[in-house]
Amino acid sequence: MVDALFLKRKATEIRKDLLKMIYEAGTGHTGSSLSNTDILTALYYGVMRIDPENPDWEDRDRYVQSKGHAVESYWAVLADKGFFPKDELSTFSQFGSRLIGHPNNKVPGVEMNTGALGHGLSISVGMALAGKKDNKSYKVYTLMGDGEQAEGSVWEAAMAASQYKLDNLVGIIDHNRLQITGSTADVMSNEPLDEKWRSFGWEVVEVDGNDVVELVNTFKKAPYVSGKPTMVLANTVKGKGISLAENEAGWHHRVPKKEEYEQAMDELTKQLEVLQ
């Protein structure tokens, strides 16, 4: 049974954590991290089999964040799950910190170093193949951006996952329709994404990517078709949760000023108060 209230509260708390990190560090991908917060919350609190005490447990589900730049929500979730102490979040992007601006697998819980777009799905294909070879039941989840779909290597991996019938692989597209320069439709149109992925042999499921309950239910049902990889097309709002950043491409990696930060934290606090 999904505890909707718990999940919604958790997502809002993660948003507060990541905003604080970005504000204090003076750097970060604000809009991108807010966009995928609900996806990460769903996976880590409602779906994945993981053990923070034993991060390298060989039967664990794997998560690969191909859109590595949206790392702040990831760090906040991993810390909250207990993979490392929460007070370490204050070292984000500081000199010599292991909590850098992209996933770093020197941190417990992080599978791979990512940041160069278009890499994560291939890596995940390898992990899913290994799982099949070993008759393991673990699943591999990979989060990509929609702007990232312009990378040719994504489609190399798409073909391979389908060829090898990797139904233990779940791809997720954070489909917020914005990228650093502006609208993805203007920069390099990739629609219709659902048809593209279907034609590459994937089962495509479309969801509200900021509805954490719907996300959990969607992930739990995968695979939808035996022998087929699943692509969750998660329709999201970039900057979700703070009104001044929502649907604004300019907030891709903008850092809030003091007043903006206070206003945003205030909004999130009010959202938490409603979720009682």
Partner: protein, 321 residues
């Protein structure tokens, strides 16, 4: 060294890719974690017998080198021992970002085998020549770089790589090569250069298929009373710096010989050590900064002076013979 084949044999040539395939087949029958990955390259990698004998341990990714390396990294992160066999020209260029990030930076233990390297694709031109790969790969932290000279060294290297704890880029050529060793009976250590011939007048440092040229040169110079030390630098990284400093001190002259651009390869690596530790005169022989001329390997080698005749001449000039 008493097992060095000082004189080139006749008719005993075998391609290193065949040795790799045979060795891996033997090892993979016992070790089920070994996987070979190909990018529509099983034929050029001589991996067809492997694919037929162990179909579950050969993963074909099609003509998609980025995916090839990414998948291998994922397999390695899941406890497998992937050996990637793909043409050096594509593997070291098309997928270099995956090599840098997914393999070296993420510390996944992938063994990257660049087949048909150097100018061994001969007439196919610069798109298929691979004479920048050492420069590119040796600049990546956490990646080791190797180049075997003949079938004996190739076998030793592959055996050593099964349990080696660092990702590796290993480059071989396409064509059958002469032996440099008489047999398999010697100690091989990654990162330890092998003295193939003793001598104190000049040192030739070579790697891969130029080791044979170095030995032939030493043989030719011997007839003129010149004693040439030959150092086989089979591991380009980590470089055996101590061995380089020693030959600089003891022989005072160094010639490097490589099937690679003169920029950033073996000669550059050696000169970085020599210039900062014990400067001595050096000559760097390799492919100049131009699209390499096309032709069979010996023809291309001859054209660029990677030949016993030319290297002998240069050695004599250095010595003042």
């Amino acid at each position: 060294m008493n097992n060095v084949a000082l004189k080139a044999s006749t008719g005993n040539k075998i391609a290193n890719r065949k040795v790799i395939s045979d060795t891996l087949l033997e090892l993979a029958k016992v070790n089920k974690d070994i996987f070979v990955l190909t990018s529509d390259s099983r034929g050029s990698a001589s991996m067809v017998p492997f694919a037929e004998a162990l179909p579950d341990q050969l993963i074909e990714v099609g003509i998609a080198e980025q995916n090839l390396v990414g998948i291998s990294a994922g397999l390695a992160a899941s406890g497998k021992k992937p050996f990637v066999a793909s043409p050096a020209c594509f593997l070291s260029m098309r997928s270099i970002e995956q090599i840098k990030v997914d393999v070296a930076y993420s510390r996944t233990n992938v063994r990257l085998i660049g087949i048909s390297g150097g100018v061994s694709y001969g007439a196919l031109g610069m798109s298929h020549h691979s004479v920048q790969d050492l420069a590119v790969t040796r600049a990546i932290p956490g990646l080791h770089v190797m180049m075997p000279a003949d079938r004996h060294e190739t076998k030793k290297m592959i055996e050593a790589l099964v349990d080696y704890d660092t990702p590796v880029y290993l480059r071989i050529g396409r064509n059958p090569v002469e032996d440099c060793y008489l047999n398999h009976d010697y100690d091989f250590e990654i990162g330890k250069a092998v003295t193939m011939n003793e001598g104190n007048d000049v040192t030739i440092i070579a790697a891969g298929e130029t080791v044979r040229v170095a030995l032939d040169t030493a043989e030719a110079l011997q007839n003129d009373g010149i004693h040439t030390r030959v150092l086989n630098m089979h591991t380009i990284k980590p470089l055996d710096e101590a061995a380089i400093i020693k030959v600089a001190q003891e022989t005072g002259r160094i010639i490097t010989l490589e099937e690679h651009s003169v920029y950033g390869g073996l000669g550059a690596a050696v000169s970085e050590v020599v210039s900062q530790n014990h400067p001595v005169p050096m000559e760097i022989i390799g492919i100049p900064d131009e699209p390499a001329i096309t032709g069979k390997t010996p023809e291309v080698f001859n054209h660029y002076g990677i030949s016993a005749d030319n290297v002998s001449k240069i050695a004599k000039q250095m010595i003042g013979y």
